[in-house]
């Protein structure tokens, strides 16, 4: 039987030691009428070689993104140095669990102490936790934390430019909390208009930068507006953009979050990724998730341990700051290794390359007849919305036929923007040849007669 090492002889000896003769007797606690005596409707087991053959077949049914993809929309295909896979895959990291026994877990704990420092630095904040599930859940937990930081306020103002999955996650979590979501609309430049929405009822303001349409928001103004009204400001940032763009900390935010996938983790059909979460040291007791702190042993040697555990569910139960227990530690470790491999200069280089590719594409696309940038006056980082002469769905099909993977048909998430909006993302992984092929494909569409 796969993965079970004991032989029948081993089992016989163990049964004898227990004082029973059959395995079935071990289950005497389960009343007979509750036993399942049939065979489960599951296929027979496979050997390792059979399994790999089957999975190779299933993998071949999926189209990979390596031929040239312009799909981002919250998940970005950046280069992953081999050291990330190589180190993360070490058994000692993969097969350990939550470091509740610090002397047996200094590897994981030290890595997360460093991780917390790197995340805090990248976001420009004082401290960070040891990660959340992903960017959407991090933003949601940030809003819940904010609601607990201010009293007698029960609305949260959320930018419509925040990722739709962030907004949907937030709706799910806030459903029964009595906190009401007020959506701040996007204006004609693709930026969030918070005018008149933040007031003395507002506990939190959430903005994403760049927003889902790729537009760079005036985040400093958002933080200032929140502060002026006594609300907690939350910024969700695209970590890679912080090689170039102003950090949430620099802009004055109380809480900063983000999705860590872009930092060394494959897109992998959307998970597992990890979430960044950072705030000011004074707010640490309200922070969700695990936190590693430095301390010493009896001989004064430096060591690391989980700390502020009284916030957490296993101690505080119904009064915990969050119900989170298992997080996405191993994937966050990938983020730590990536940030260390890149350093500040490497992250800036990746950011600059990604932006350069996007600018190159935007310039060419804007010159194509019938195509235009949706928000030409607004700045973008590595993703922008294009207005096409045909429905985005059809444009994507043409891009497909050219052997590339198109962008996101924005009507799926923003029906008010019409059917001709195509959201295109670029990273350092997109070659000039791929981009030229994209532009050439679009130019054929531009030249073609519109279908009646």
């Amino acid at each position: 039987m796969p993965f079970i090492q004991n032989s029948d002889d081993d089992r016989a000896e163990m049964l004898a030691a227990i004082g029973v003769t059959t395995v079935d007797e071990l289950f005497e606690q389960i009343p007979e009428e509750l036993r399942y005596r049939s065979r489960l409707p599951i296929d027979d087991g496979l050997s390792e070689d059979e399994l790999r053959a089957e999975l190779a077949e299933l993998a071949s049914w999926n189209t990979t993104m390596d031929s040239g993809s312009f799909l981002g929309a919250g998940l970005y295909r950046h280069f992953i140095p081999t050291v990330v896979d190589s180190l993360q895959q070490r058994h000692e990291f993969v097969t350990a669990y939550t470091p509740y026994q610090p002397e047996a877990s200094q590897g994981t704990l030290t890595a997360f102490f460093e991780f917390q420092t790197m995340v805090a630095e990248l976001l420009g904040m004082e401290i960070a936790n040891a990660s959340m599930y992903d960017g959407c859940s991090a933003a949601t937990e940030a809003v819940i934390m904010a609601a607990n930081m201010v009293r007698n306020r029960n609305t949260v103002v959320v930018s419509r430019g925040a990722h739709p999955y962030t907004r949907r996650t937030l709706e799910t979590y806030l459903k029964w909390t009595g906190i009401e979501i007020v959506e701040a609309p996007l204006d004609e430049k693709g930026r969030t208009n918070f005018d008149g929405l933040v007031d003395d009822k507002t506990c939190a303001v959430l903005v994403q930068n760049p927003n889902t349409l790729g537009v760079i928001e005036d985040i400093e103004a958002v933080a200032t507006e929140a502060k002026a009204n006594g609300a907690v400001s939350v910024c969700s940032a695209y970590p890679m953009s912080l090689g170039v763009l102003k950090s949430p900390g620099e802009a004055g935010f109380d809480i900063a979050v983000g999705d860590g996938q872009c930092l060394g983790t494959p897109i992998a059909y959307g998970g597992p990724g990890w979430g960044l979460f950072a705030c000011a040291q004074k707010d640490v007791r309200r922070m969700p998730g695990r936190i590693v702190g430095e301390t010493v042993d009896g001989e004064g040697r430096r060591g690391f341990a989980l700390t502020f555990q009284t916030r957490e569910q296993h101690i505080r139960r119904a009064k915990a700051t969050s119900n989170i227990c298992t997080n996405n530690a191993l994937i966050a470790l990938r983020g730590a290794i990536y940030m260390a491999a890149a350093g500040a200069d490497g992250i800036k280089e990746v950011a600059m390359h990604s932006m350069a590719k996007a600018q190159y594409a935007a310039k060419a696309i804007a010159e194509l007849p019938g195509f235009e940038l949706a928000y030409p006056e607004s700045g973008f980082f590595n993703e922008f919305l294009v207005r096409c002469p045909r429905p985005a769905k059809e444009v994507n099909k043409a891009i497909d036929r050219a052997g590339l993977l198109g962008g996101l048909d924005i009507a799926r998430w923003y029906p008010e923007l019409g059917e001709d909006g195509l959201l295109l993302a670029f990273t350092e992984m997109n070659t000039r040849a791929q981009i030229d092929r994209l532009i050439s494909t679009l130019s054929h569409i531009a030249a073609a007669q519109p279908v009646a």
């Binding site: 097969t95 200094q106 790197m118 979590y173 700390t307 500040a344």
Partner: protein, 485 residues
Amino acid sequence: MNKDLLLYEKSRPGHRTLRLGKLDVPEADLSLLPEGSQRVTPPTLPEIGELDLIRHYVLLSKKNVSIADSFYPLGSCTMKYNPVTNEHIVTWPGFADIHPEMDAGRVQGALRIMKTLSDGLAAITGLPGVTLHPAAGAQGELAALLVAHKHFHKTGQDGRTKVLIPDSAHGTNPASAMIAGFEAVEIKSGSDGLVDLADLESKLGDDTAVLMITNPSTLGLFETNIARISELVHGAGGLVYMDGANLNAIMGVARPADFGVDMMHINLHKTFSTPHGGGGPGAGPICVTDELTTYLPSPRVVEEEDGLSLDYDSPDSIGMLRGWPGNFGVLARAYAYLRRLGAEGVKRVAENAVLNANYIRVKLNDAYHVPYDRMCMHEFVCNNKKQKEFGIHALDVAKRLIDLGYHPMTIYFPLVVSEAMMIEPTETESKHTLDAFIEDMLLIAEEAKTDPDKLHAAPVTRSIGRLDEGRAVRDPQLRWTCRKG
């Protein structure tokens, strides 16, 4: 050479691992960015070359105790072997290099894996409605409670506000109940360690929404009265939720649906062998009855004539709990595990897990106090009652185990047993490993009498000794700062 330096202390200006090739388009024009939108102060990140980077993390990895190097009987966590082939498969581009917003037609392999895994979980639990969306067990619990809340709301039963939770439950249960808008009410355990039926009955009523029950319980005991418990809860108009953390003990042997369970979560990182990764990622699928399926989170995999696709817009759904369909990489590993096992293997897992736990129990129940000393399921709880007179606590036993080459058992949980030591060997351990562990546990029991200071001083073989955890709260240092450089 000081091998304990942090990355930041090893940092040297100008060192770097990741450098991109030559840019093949014109350089980015920063003047195109809006005024004031640029970063002024760069982040302080380590500067480190590839060899030094590798050395750093390899040295760190050696400071962990893991399943790969040691027996890890951490109760309630099901630290079984994580098949290496599964770690390899998920790195294949066909699984790693695919985007969840791609057209369904381009990702039929991924969707098929999710569908087949869902079907397998439905078969094992007997509950037909499955979602793979939740990121971990706690999120699965929350999803199920939100399903219940929506169900009661839709059926005009808004007065059902209470969630009943046994005192032996995981802390995530009451924490999830709060977020789902319920009030958590504790149910006592009886002297036999099982749910006290009288206490349960006294707390059931028109305001009961859900009973959350862990079965087998965190004491490693099967709730023998589970059918009666479900009947009582249903009689009061409530739903029964089963915390599936301990499914490893019963899969293929008994189905939660047959206990009267309406909803449950499954920890794929426990029962289905996906690695724990130093604290995650997990995955917490939930399985529910037909009646509740309509409320499950979005998106769900649906099968239509032209193939599989994701449905993000089911009208009655409670919505999303995170971004994208789920922790696909974890789901693919669980799929691979289930395919290796097959129907027969699933049952063998439970049988061998229970056999291994009982074997340790009978070998240790002289030296250690086992408060519920009868046939256990996949784990059992003992405590320090026999060592207390020598000043030995559960913590001392745990720390001494570290010196003897183990990861300790879970200690001080469940809360209903004072100084609990919860031991779960899992089915993947061999008898000779269990025998060695038993021998070492007996040695510790002996040392408790003859040399208690040895236990108090432990561990002495790791890179550090016992830490001053109080100091980490009184004087919080939560990040590296320059002043220490």
